[in-house]
């Protein structure tokens, strides 16, 4: 898999030219992801609560619904990270901060490894986030979760939002012109 390089510092760029992403940048990306996850969860919870409030349910049923809600939240959080890491290697937060999670061989994570990294993330956070602090002392800026799942976090500069939007518009305009031509060539 081909990787791109961003303007890295000399210390965090290995001889092959790959730059690794540091703790603070990853923290900001995680905060963006957490905000997204909780925003979606909040909207869904508000909707579900409104619907449930219409019915007069006994308290034990409400407790069951709350438990199901908590389980759904956990599944949603795990699914979010596993889905994005295994699909593109980037969560939306990673994309904003322009880095990517890959295996130590430079390949995209498979769902099983993404799930392992997700679990390792919890383990790294448990001892007062000490697992994340390993990032500061590792040459490849790997935290405990990266060591356990054998992954690395590398810089992945992408298109700016404005440029991406411009390209999307151009592509859709080209498609529209193409379909018009096709319609003219093969009139119904």
């Amino acid at each position: 898999m081909e990787l791109t390089t961003a303007a890295p510092t000399a210390r965090t760029r290995d001889p092959s030219g790959v730059a690794y992403t540091g703790l603070l940048t990853r923290g900001i990306a995680f905060a963006i992801d957490a905000a997204l996850i909780n925003l979606v969860a909040l909207v869904v919870t508000a909707g579900a609560t409104l619907i449930v409030s219409l019915f007069h349910l006994p308290s034990n049923i409400r407790a069951v619904i709350a438990a199901v809600g908590v389980a759904a939240y956990v599944v949603w959080v795990i699914g979010y990270f596993v889905g994005f890491w295994s699909a593109t290697g980037q969560t939306p937060g990673n994309r904003v901060m322009q880095f990517r999670v890959l295996t130590s061989n430079g390949e995209r994570l498979r769902p099983r490894r993404a799930l392992l990294r997700c679990g390792a993330l919890v383990i790294a956070a448990l001892p007062l986030f000490a697992g994340f602090l390993l990032t500061l002392f590792d040459r490849q800026r790997r935290g405990l979760q990266d060591r356990l799942a054998r992954t690395v976090v590398v810089e992945a500069p992408g298109l700016s939002l404005a440029e991406a939007s411009r390209r999307r518009r151009r592509t859709s305009a080209r498609r529209a012109i193409g379909s018009e031509h096709a319609g003219a060539d093969h009139p119904a």
Binding site: M1, E2, L3, T4, T5, T9, A10, R11, T12, R13, D14, P15, S16, G17, V18, T21, G22, L23, L24, T25, I28, V96, M97, Q98, L102, T103, S104, N105, G106, E107, L133, L136, F137, D138, R139, Q140, V152, V154, P157, G158, S160, L161, A162, S165, R166, R169
Partner: protein
């Protein structure tokens, strides 16, 4: 007797009237044809272009524009309140506001506003990214100083990773 003479004259002139009418129709047709030919001909365009590009015409126009007479006319037009009236009528016109609404809702305008917003978001994002990476480096240097170890040197640990085009 005189009535009879009049009838004779009218009868004798009737064919002449028809001829005159036909002659007028033919003349109008020829005139229209000639006008159309002149307007369609490249000669007219050439004459107009050479007239506009002529240094004498340009100098004359320049002289006219800086003359006091033109200034007086322009001042008189503005002082007449004509433009105030036009502006007042335009602002009172429903069609103008409809046009403004149409322009504001047009895809080109919305795309330009979106582009501007995205450009700003890009700028903010770029600034955050740059600063966070600087902070990463600073944090690592501080951490390494804290544990009295040398700054780590890069090592080749990911043979599968290699740089490439975006």
């Amino acid at each position: 007797m005189s009535a009879l003479g009049t009838r004779v004259v009218v009868a004798s002139l009737r064919p002449l009237g028809g001829v005159a009418g036909a002659a007028v129709d033919a003349a109008v047709t020829v005139e229209r044809y000639a006008t159309a030919r002149v307007l369609d001909s490249p000669e007219l365009e050439r004459i107009l272009v050479s007239a506009v590009e002529s240094p004498r015409v340009q100098a004359a126009v320049k002289r006219a524009l800086v003359s006091d007479g033109v200034r007086d006319i322009v001042t008189a037009v503005f002082e007449s309140g004509l433009f105030d009236l036009i502006a007042e009528r335009l602002l009172a016109s429903e069609a103008l506001w409809h046009l403004v609404d149409e322009i504001a809702a047009s895809p080109a305008v919305t795309a330009a506003i979106t582009q501007q917003g995205l450009g700003f978001a890009d700028q903010v994002g770029e600034e955050v990214r740059t600063r966070s990476r600087s902070a990463d480096d600073w944090l690592e240097r501080a951490a390494w100083r804290l544990v009295h170890r040398r700054t780590p040197t890069p090592r080749r640990g990911t043979e599968g990773l290699r740089p490439g085009p975006p």
